[in-house]
């Protein structure tokens, strides 16, 4: 195929694509003006039915909680897959001490960086906890709060250096919390079955509208997601950062 022929093919296909795009763009509803039947129904029903004021949490943890269960196990699968792949190269047992690569300088963090990280890191984790706890009241929830908490631990890494960060986060229960969160979510679906309810039926008391503890079973699901996401992200960071270290005393 010559250069000119290929160019002609490109022009023809671009013209067809442009026509199709133009047609679709014209027949689309106007920006921000399409009807939201599902959203309006949730806004009308959820405060009365579930006593929560964050409708996104009501959808993800209650009305479509089964979908979230799938997403939860997708996350666990992704984190486990990354851990298996990376540990497969390094060995199953984590090394006792972080290893430094010879020739790569490790400059200590400056006092200003350490101060800022020590001030903001704990505050950020506290904010993550706040986002997790108020899942049914204000925007945010287990996933967002868990990710914020995990990002807060990264500030510890910047402030304390790899050695200090590793000694804080590398614990045996990191894996347990990661799997236990997913297990908690699955159990909160299965346990109602034992009491004659449907899968993930919200049988707990709903609490007061706009109260931090409102939502019944959503609270347990939300806490499970927060645990799984925070531990999963930290585990992922740890497994990736270990890769830059190339431990030699790993083989036992």
């Amino acid at each position: 195929m010559t250069h000119r022929l290929r160019l002609a093919g490109l022009v023809v296909s671009l013209a067809i694509l442009a026509c199709a795009l133009f047609r679709i763009a014209l027949s689309m509803p106007q920006f921000g003006r399409h009807p939201f039947p599902y959203g309006q129904a949730i806004n009308r029903l959820a405060p009365a039915q579930r006593h929560v004021s964050n409708m996104v949490s009501a959808v993800t943890f209650d009305y479509r909680g089964f979908d979230t269960l799938g997403e939860e196990f997708m996350l666990v699968g992704a984190v486990s897959g990354a851990a298996i792949l990376l540990r497969g190269f390094r060995g199953e047992q984590p090394t006792a001490r972080p290893v430094q690569i010879p020739g790569r300088p490790v400059p200590p963090p400056s006092d200003a960086v350490m101060l800022i990280a020590r001030l903001i890191g704990p505050l950020m984790m506290l904010f993550g906890l706040d986002v997790v706890l108020h899942a049914t009241v204000t925007p945010g929830g287990g996933f967002q709060g868990g990710a914020v908490i995990a990002s807060g631990t990264l500030l510890l890494w910047i402030g304390e250096g790899y050695r200090g960060w590793r000694s804080i986060v590398r614990t045996w229960w990191l894996d347990v919390v990661e799997g236990g969160g997913a297990l908690g979510f699955a159990l909160s679906g299965l346990i109602p079955l034992c009491f004659g309810g449907g899968f993930m039926e919200n049988m707990l008391p709903y609490g007061k509208f706009r109260d931090m503890l409102s939502g019944g079973l959503m609270q347990i699901e939300n806490a499970s997601v927060a645990l799984a996401v925070a531990a999963g992200f930290v585990l992922l960071f740890l497994e990736f950062l270990e890769e830059t270290r190339a431990p030699e005393d790993d083989q036992q």
Binding site: G32, N54, V56, G141, F237, F240
Partner: protein, 82 residues
């Protein structure tokens, strides 16, 4: 569509173009983080604070870090082979 939304859409397009056009991997990671931040602001302006929080936490902190670590890891392998 308000002026704020129009500006944020333009900014998102500019940030995305910046990711494509930057050639140095480390700069590209930073451009990706900036793009995530702009997308977070856009979602916030479109009244989706839940999505904005996720986007900012994942798109500007977690994913760029993993990319930076992957780049650093490749560098160490190169220096070991030499």
């Amino acid at each position: 569509m308000s002026l704020l939304l129009a500006l944020l859409f333009l900014l998102a397009a500019a940030a995305g173009t910046g990711v494509v056009l930057s050639r140095d991997p480390r700069r590209q990671v930073m451009a990706l983080a900036a793009n995530g931040l702009v997308l977070g602001l856009l979602f916030l302006a479109l009244q989706a604070p839940d999505v904005a929080l996720s986007e900012v936490a994942v798109g500007t902190a977690a994913v760029p870090l993993l990319f930076l670590v992957a780049i650093a890891s490749i560098r160490t392998d190169e220096s070991r082979n030499q």
